[in-house]
């Protein structure tokens, strides 16, 4: 199953189980979504449960918050994460804060899905990874799946969660486990073990990381596309790296992270988003605070350069396997 099919499956099952679940966004209903994640849902559940909206991100998310406050379970699609900015005020000022400002009387069980990340030549307005803008906001949960299996399990959990969840879907992973080698043929999910997705109702708990690949020499913290790039980078360097797939950035599974770093004594933090003030900065700070006496080298970061997401130099921007391998080697040389 592809990640697109897994997401559609999760939405389908959630809608089938709970009539409060409604799915909407730009092109989501009749057309089935720009990436086809909602294809067929309107036909199956009708236009009151899966429908198109105007191109009004602020209004869409605001309406979703109102629906959630009165007992529905809206799942909103923002067509690209890059289109989220007009809705940011509603996400920050309303969705994230409703519970606190009403002292728990009102809540906002809403999921905002959005395809994120680059690797598709989308240039600066169709490639960004804005996760740090959400992890900085208390009251939100932020989830980034790295496989069809994770996408289904985490999305179903997000829909059932009582709090607002930002669900960032790495669009480069929609059709296959992208390892960072853009010039090689694309692998299909059907040839990957994590393309096997449990049938029926299936959740993976939010706030739980998974060890994507066990290792002893160095811990690599990654999420989304970079989980796969981390592994190909480790292979390229020939280093026995332990790759942690964070899955949920907030709340963070710090226990799994620290257990691994205490074991390996070295840590590389990876993300596709720009380096400065990225989520990696938070991870690096936590790791140094929690694992200081176990560290054999400073925590290293590999991330997108501090530039707008480029069109022509996409693969120079993208922190691919070569940069990961280089950073891993440098980490191991530190004494």
């Amino acid at each position: 199953m592809t990640m697109i099919e897994a997401i559609r499956d999760a939405l389908d099952i959630a809608m089938g189980r709970d009539s409060r679940v409604i799915v909407f966004g730009e092109d989501v209903g009749y057309f089935g979504g720009v990436f086809r994640c909602t294809a067929g849902l309107q036909r199956k559940y009708g236009p009151t449960r899966c429908f198109d909206t105007p191109i009004s991100e602020l209004g869409i998310v605001g309406a979703g918050i109102g629906m959630a406050a009165y007992g529905l379970r809206p799942v909103v699609e923002i067509q690209f994460a890059d289109y989220m900015y007009p809705a940011y005020d509603q996400i920050v000022s309303e969705a994230a804060r409703l519970r606190y400002r009403s002292a728990g009387e009102f809540t906002c069980p809403m999921v905002v899905r959005m395809p994120s990340g680059g690797g598709i030549f989308g240039a600066q307005t169709h490639s960004q990874s804005p996760e740090a803008l959400f992890t900085h906001v208390t009251g939100l949960k932020t989830v980034v799946p790295s496989s069809p299996r994770a996408a289904k399990g985490l999305l179903m959990a997000a829909i059932e969660d009582p709090d607002p969840v930002i669900f960032l879907e790495p669009k480069r992973l929609y059709n296959g486990p992208f390892d960072g080698y853009h010039d090689r043929p694309v692998t299909a999910w059907k040839n990957h073990p994590l393309g096997e997705v449990p049938e029926g109702h299936f959740t993976l708990p939010l706030g739980r990381a998974e060890i994507a690949r066990p290792g002893r020499s160095v811990t690599v913290l990654a999420y989304g596309t970079m989980v796969h790039v981390a592994q190909s980078g480790a292979d390229a360097a020939g280093i026995d790296a332990e790759v942690i797939d964070l899955q949920t950035l907030l709340p963070l599974d710090l226990e799994t992270v620290t257990a691994s770093v205490r074991k390996t004594g070295r840590c590389l933090v990876l993300h596709e988003a720009t380096l400065t003030s990225g989520f990696g900065a938070e991870l690096a700070a936590l790791v140094q605070a929690e694992c200081f006496y176990h560290l054999e080298a400073p925590v290293a970061r590999v991330a997108g350069w501090d530039t707008p997401y480029p069109h022509v130099h996409e693969w120079q921007y993208f922190p691919g396997p070569a940069r990961v391998a280089e950073a891993l080697r440098a980490l191991l040389e530190e004494v």
Binding site: T48, I65, P74
Partner: protein, 334 residues
Amino acid sequence: MATRKNPETKATKRANVSKDDLLKYYREMLLIRRFEEKAGQLYGMGLIGGFCHLYIGQEAVVVGLEAAAEDGDKRITSYRDHGHMLACGMDPKGVMAELTGREGGLSKGKGGSMHMFSKEKHFYGGHGIVGAQVPLGAGLAFADQYKGNGRVTFTYFGDGAANQGQVYETFNMAALWKLPVVFVIENNQYAMGTAQKRSTSTPEIHTRGQAFGIPGESVDGMDVLAVKEAGERATAHCRAGDGPYILEVMTYRYRGHSMSDPAKYRSREEVQKMREERDAIEHVRELLLQGGHAGDDDLKAIDKEIKAIVNEAAEYSKESPEPDVSELWTDIYA
């Protein structure tokens, strides 16, 4: 205070209003005014900090619309929200204690003046970002429509918020989906310190629904009966399944935008003229007196009763303890 020469308006003639109704509106409007005056005092004494937007002058808007509301209808508004809460029956003690940031406040002191809620009274907040409550109101109406419960959502915002883009995103969606929502534009003529003519290209904001096929009308917001009547037209439209309706309620706030506003953008005379000639409470008072529904003594008794409620709220807001510091970390996630 000078009174209107003739309190009978077209609306009052049409309404054939009962004594009980008039007394009810009088009492509710007076409660808001006295409550707000007390809040202003507590603010001056340093017991209320931060932001505090008083509703004085606008009382007829929310009291008139509440008179048109049915059980289960929802309301959501901006940061000038104390009046809305009192008018829908929320406990004055809880409102005042929220202003003072106490445990007994409706949001345990975490929300403050601009952020209070009541599930019981279907009050969906107090929102501190100008215009941000408008799409939420459409979402609430969507949920009502989805549940088929026949309810209407009153979505209040000001003339200043009417220039926010999200309002028009919401108009489009509400009209497209025929949502049962009444958009109430409380036009008090000033967006904080900017007069409407300095900020708004078309002064008749109620006509802005035309582009979306939403009917709208301008209402005399200093006449509680005119407001109620318009509210009934609007809710009938919504309940009939005909979609949203816009009421631009022309009103006036006597005090500054917030307590920290010296109000230098308008003349003292302008304010005084509104108070003397158009005051909504005086209007009902005159209707009561001239219609022979109540005597001075009756009204004095009501004044006394309201004063007692407000004093009790003020006392409570001082006595209720501050919430424990541990509350800082609660109600963030489930």
